[in-house]
């Protein structure tokens, strides 16, 4: 071995001549280093973000997560409140809509804009002497209305409503500009018995028709299922306006 050996020579020498003093110890320690390095590298690559994190960092993370979930819960509460209030609004809207629809049904029957069915009476007026005029018919209609008639139709062609006008015509009556000839068939929807009673009292409709000067003939039949098919176009009020209620 030369006196002044360079580092490179020494390294080559050690590589060439195994079993030099202490090499086994060094090998053992180097094995430990290699093992530990590989293990650490792999565990670092395997582990997710939080495994190597310190306790205080984890606590901070937990705190921020808890705060975030608190905020989220408050948001959930707020949104649920909004949802329930919206649901209430919808409910009340639906109720109002339902009410409006019912009212519309009632009003459209009264206004005669829709066909109607229901129990009632069918009145047939024979007029062999031509004595039956609007006086008798008008009184009859009044009495029917008084007894709660909800829909009235004459001769399957005229729907009697609030605006209906009657006048005498040649060989019959003119109702809503329509010439009608006897016999008159009046179909009325309402409580059948009440309607029948309303026509039959002394000096009432039947008496008026069957006694002079009309000398007609009346038949009243209570029917369970009357269908009134005639409708009227709804009339726009030209002058009258509804008063807005506050």
């Amino acid at each position: 071995m030369p006196e002044r050996q360079s580092g490179r020579d020494r390294l080559l020498g050690a590589l060439k001549r195994p079993g030099l003093r202490g090499q086994v110890t060094v090998a053992a320690l180097l094995a430990v280093v290699g093992f530990a390095s590989v293990v650490q590298v792999q565990s670092h690559e395997l582990n997710d973000d939080f495994a190597g994190t310190r306790q205080e960092d984890l606590i901070q993370l937990l705190d921020s997560l808890a705060a975030a979930s608190d905020r989220a819960e408050i948001e959930i509460d707020r949104l649920e409140e909004t949802r329930s209030s919206l649901r209430n609004d919808t409910d009340s809207n639906n109720a109002a809509l339902e009410q409006a629809r019912e009212q519309a049904d009632v009003l459209s029957i009264l206004a005669g804009t829709v066909p109607s069915v229901g129990p009632g009476v069918v009145i047939t007026v024979q007029d062999p002497t031509g004595g039956v005029g609007i006086d008798q018919l008008l009184n009859g209609l009044e009495e029917l209305r008084d007894a709660g008639a909800e829909a009235i139709e004459i001769n399957n062609s005229v729907r009697v409503v609030a605006q209906t006008s009657l006048s005498d015509g040649e060989g019959g009556v003119i109702i809503d500009d329509q010439q009608l000839a006897p016999p008159y068939t009046i179909e009325v929807i309402g409580e059948p018995h009440t309607l029948n009673q309303a026509l039959g009292f002394t000096g009432g409709f039947i008496d008026e028709i069957e006694q002079p000067p009309a000398n007609g003939e009346v038949r009243v039949k209570e029917v369970d299922d009357i269908e009134i098919a005639t409708v009227r176009e709804p009339t726009e009020a030209e002058y009258a306006e509804p008063v807005e209620e506050e």
């Binding site: 360079s6 202490g22 090499q23 110890t25 060094v26 093992f35």
Partner: protein, 110 residues
């Protein structure tokens, strides 16, 4: 020769076994590895200088690892674990660079 084989054997074992790092060791292992690397490079430099002594190497290796782990442990207890770890890594890094520079001068004469 045997030393180089030892390193290879260690790496192979680590790759083959793939053991899980125990939880209590997790904060210390990275620092211990860096400290061990420092001892290894120091030993290589000493070897090239012709002053290598295996007893010194063993002692410096073990003490490096132990002190590094101790500092991290103390740091965790004091609540400055992160900062102390960084400090240890910086110091060891500087030493590794200095040793590698000396090794480079020996092997490459530059």
């Amino acid at each position: 020769m045997i030393a180089g084989l030892g390193l290879l054997v260690g790496i192979t074992l680590g790759l083959l076994l793939q053991p899980d790092v125990p939880l209590w060791l997790e904060p210390y292992l990275p620092i211990a590895v860096v400290a061990a690397l420092d001892a290894v490079f120091g030993a290589l430099r000493a070897f090239l200088d012709g002053m290598f002594d295996d007893r010194v190497f063993v002692v410096s290796f073990l003490s490096n690892v132990l002190i590094a782990a101790l500092i991290v442990y103390l740091g965790d207890k004091l609540g400055v674990g992160g900062q102390l770890s960084t400090g240890v890594i910086v110091v060891l890094g500087i030493r590794i660079f200095a040793n590698v520079a000396a090794i480079r001068r020996h092997l490459l004469h530059a």
